[in-house]
Point group: C2
């Protein structure tokens, strides 16, 4: 195994990939925006808290700070072209609000096609290095029943996986208990 000590940014920072991107949906007045974020994680089960790390350079970053309500949705691998598109153009230059979506209980836009989605209320924002972690409380859950198993997980083979730098994949069809 080769190794190197590090200072400053790494040559690559994808060792912990692939990840399931969360598509963050936000509405501010009449303006609707969607942006995928692969740096996301559960943060607490009770209360249910979900975290998304976003660069302040992202258009969505400022919208979230103002709107303080947003969605995080999870999409099948067949929607990779849409997710890639949403991630490769900025809401500053392209209006992404025409992408098919619906509004949740709290008025947040949720991208169509998801097998599951959360409506989130912003609880806290913490700056870590060059990103900010948005900590959201899950206030509503959307589930496409036929696509989830009894534990609310996407069926194996369904989820979209992101490897970074425009490369996508999906999980194998088989899951197993070791």
């Amino acid at each position: 195994m080769r190794s190197h000590r590090t200072q400053g940014p790494l040559p690559t920072f994808y060792h912990f990939y692939p990840g399931v991107p969360a598509v963050v949906g936000v509405r501010l007045g009449e303006r609707v925006n969607f942006c995928p974020a692969v740096w996301n994680t559960g943060l607490s089960a009770d209360p249910p808290l979900f975290g998304v790390a976003l660069s302040p350079k992202r258009f969505t970053h400022g919208l979230l700070l103002e709107a303080r309500r947003y969605s995080a949705s999870f999409h099948p691998h067949t929607q990779a072209p849409l997710v890639q598109h949403l991630g490769s153009v900025s809401g500053r230059e392209v209006y992404k609000g025409k992408t098919p979506h619906f509004l949740g209980h709290t008025g947040v836009p949720i991208l169509e096609g998801a097998y599951a989605a959360y409506e989130l209320e912003l609880l806290a924002v913490h700056s870590f290095g060059d990103h900010d972690l948005f900590v959201g409380r899950v206030v509503a859950v959307w589930e496409e029943e036929g696509l989830l198993d009894e534990a609310g997980r996407p069926r194996p083979g369904l989820a979209l996986l992101y490897y970074g730098r425009g490369l996508y994949g999906r999980p194998a069809e088989e899951a197993f208990r070791p």
Copy 2:
């Protein structure tokens, strides 16, 4: 799509799975411990920061607070039985330090068999609900060259994916650019 508003814990909180578990390795004096954590994410590219959310109930939680140095390693799906074992017994009851490992530049234990691993220095701990987020600065990187692509990503088909509740999987062999 069915939906429900939520208060308190959700019936299930696995919609954003599967994830790649990071095996956290820590040494305090002669005591070595390993525990997998699927709630992990990148937090910053420059400086490189990696976050792991752990319940205060976990034995590893207290060790990290004291040691302040630890590893996070990423393992092929063939190591699922080991990872599952490390996650199903507590270091309080079972000594996991005999699991094959080596020591990194900073003296942290790194579980054998990983395709990549980070050595981390604890920068901050933030409490979110029933978990604490350990924010670590990457101070060294280990890479098994033949198992990573030119961007330092595990080759498709290699990584271990965790679906929660003891269920594991792996990515499909194919990756694609939409």
